[in-house]
Symmetry: C2
Subunit: 206 residues, 2 copies
């Protein structure tokens, strides 16, 4: 398809698409004439992903480029690709604080028996949270997180089930990233509503 | 305790404490002399909460003041207080977009049988997420969220269990807010790690 159709189908303006092309967030189309290029479904999917990462998630252009670069370099090894993509999305863009609680996270992962990389950024994010709780005077024993982690396991099963039927590893990794990013605010909102409901249930007799 | 001890025990500088006092984020101490005031455990708890909301959560001073104001106005009705506090913390500070998916959220809440306010901001946040997924070309049927919501119910039970044993409704509401805010990044990190683990499990034979 031409860039105008790509714009129409994605809802992203031609100007913005050209900006993404220049910044390397979107691979170049197939050149068909000096001033014309052809785009395909892959470009459409990639555009959605870029919008989700920069818009919904608020990632910078350079962080988005880095993440998409990791996607493109890996092919063939589905697990490695998925693990890398999902694990590499830092929870915040701040530089990692010294995480004195990393030993706690190691103990938690060991207890859970989870097969996750030593260097997964989510480990660091978790350690940072435990450290910040400690510095706020509300230390949290890592054992407290075990039942939360068991529920996270079941959430992950639902997440991965949604990727069933996608054969292409790159498309699967893109979709996994999109769902992970976009479902986060929904899951946090569900937790809030569930808390309100549970609170109502417990205090119905007050 | 004097302001110097409050500073030492909270890890917040005297200058910052004075700033919070001026901005109304922290109630004034009990005046004991022209230039001296006494603070108590309630001030210490409130300081931790302010640091969590402004630091970890990144709320503005005015948003924090508004939230704390809601806390202070309500007393006695534990459910109402908890529900209001947990539900009123918007997931983002952006103004609410027109949420065309609010009918979907109503249907979801109805299906779940949840007792939540019509005007809970988390409803809006959820509708916004569904709307943004739709605009990104990856519409999500609200039925897909039902199993996620059932897991959120169990998460909320864990959350509320942690408040057991706190008698004072204000202290309970403060603690609920702190745990809700501070556990969010931990829960998202656990989901990432669980996804990596589940992906490894499924593709072990690749």
């Amino acid at each position: 398809m031409r860039i105008s159709e790509l714009s129409r189908r994605s809802g992203v303006s031609v100007t913005t698409i050209k900006y993404y092309l220049r910044e390397g967030l979107l691979p170049a189309g197939r050149q068909t004439a000096a001033t014309q290029a052809e785009y395909d479904e892959h470009h459409l999917r990639r555009l959605r992903l870029v919008r989700a990462l920069t818009g919904v998630r608020g990632l910078s252009v350079s962080a988005t480029r880095e993440l998409l670069g990791a996607l493109t370099e890996l092919t063939g090894d589905t697990h490695r690709q998925l693990g890398l993509v999902l694990g590499s999305l830092r929870l915040a863009e701040e530089p990692a604080a010294e995480a004195s609680a990393s030993g706690d996270v190691d103990a938690l992962v060991e207890e859970l028996g989870w097969d996750v990389h030593e260097s997964a950024p989510a480990r660091t994010a978790l350690a940072e949270t435990l450290t910040s709780l400690r510095s706020l005077g509300v230390p949290l024993d890592w054992h407290t997180l075990v039942p939360y982690a068991r529920l996270a396991e079941r959430t992950a099963v639902l997440d991965l089930d949604q990727l069933g039927g996608i054969e292409d590893p790159l498309e699967m990794a893109e979709r996994a990233l999109l769902l992970t990013v976009l479902l986060e605010p929904a899951l946090l909102a569900l937790r809030r509503l569930a808390q309100e409901n549970e609170s109502a249930r417990r205090h119905a007799g007050d």
